[in-house]
Symmetry: C2
Subunit: 182 residues, 2 copies
């Protein structure tokens, strides 16, 4: 095969440590994703949630196969994506801590009429139908369609909904103190 036909597929991948360094310093908005495929609720904290389309209303997120919630999310037809703010840091930490029962505190969560577990009092949540799962390495990328939502705090309505971000292994809160220009 002539050199000019060589494809990028032949190019070695970036070493893991270099890749981790890029994303350690890349901020991510924080979400808690919950689901129940019929055999009990699962929850996990994710920084990969992003809106991809407004009409239809679609969002994307990814889950590592190593996550304790991965198997349930492979089967669940619906999920609840909770968009967290700085007031929700305890919920964010709960979904990021391994080896605990994330539903042990029964007063912190309830069930929607459709059955999905939802954590109460967080900034906002959106119930979604999973419409696509794409395997990518040891992870799955989910595309989901938004069905129903509730917003508890919205800074556009004058409520102090200050964003929660994970960056350089640290939780950060957004607000007037972090604005770069007006």
């Amino acid at each position: 095969m002539p050199a000019s036909k060589a494809t990028e597929s032949a190019t070695p991948s970036l070493p893991a440590d270099d890749f981790k360094a890029i994303f350690r310093g890349h901020p991510g908005g924080v979400s808690l994703i919950t689901a129940d495929a019929g055999d009990g609720p699962v929850a996990l904290t994710a920084t990969s949630v992003a809106s991809i389309s407004v009409d239809p209303p679609l969002l994307v997120f990814s889950i590592s196969a190593l996550s304790s919630a991965a198997k349930v999310l492979t089967r669940a037809t619906t999920v609840v994506v909770h968009s967290l703010d700085a007031q929700d840091i305890d919920v964010a930490k709960l979904g990021a801590t391994s080896g605990i029962d994330r539903f042990a505190q029964k007063q912190t969560w309830s069930r929607l009429s459709t059955g999905e577990p939802v954590f109460d009092g967080v900034r906002a949540w959106v119930r979604c139908e999973v419409i696509e799962r794409v395997q990518a390495g040891a992870s799955t990328v989910f595309v989901a369609r938004a069905l129903q939502s509730q917003i508890e705090r919205d800074s556009e309505l004058g409520q102090p909904g200050n964003g929660l971000v994970y960056h350089n292994r640290t939780w950060h809160g957004l607000g007037e103190h972090s604005r770069l220009d007006s």
Copy 2:
């Protein structure tokens, strides 16, 4: 069809305004994505970039079909994802402004030996091979494998690489002032 067989697909989607309100308040780390499929460079600012796997090193992002860069990104086999920090706000704004030539300032960018356009001096960039494109509504979700990277500023190395975030239609900078706990 019995009611119990009704699928979520029959459930109406969330109204666009409700969906926008959820994500207006959801913080996103800021990236600039560049590519050249052979007929000139394109660049756009995105808040949807996320790491999905370390081995192989994979990331995901999405692009609206309405973006001026969408057509080129449909054909490009490689892209450069620039992970921006607060010092890079001018680059972030450049890629978010419509109707301008984003490559007019020739001293701000160069080409890698492999041909892709890269903006100089930003916090970090990673050159990737596009390995999957998934159509979702009016957008495309890209899965890309990391090939090569460069980090200019890394707070773990003591360099002040303060994160750049977009939230509630405003740019925010992360740092000691935004840390929630130590």
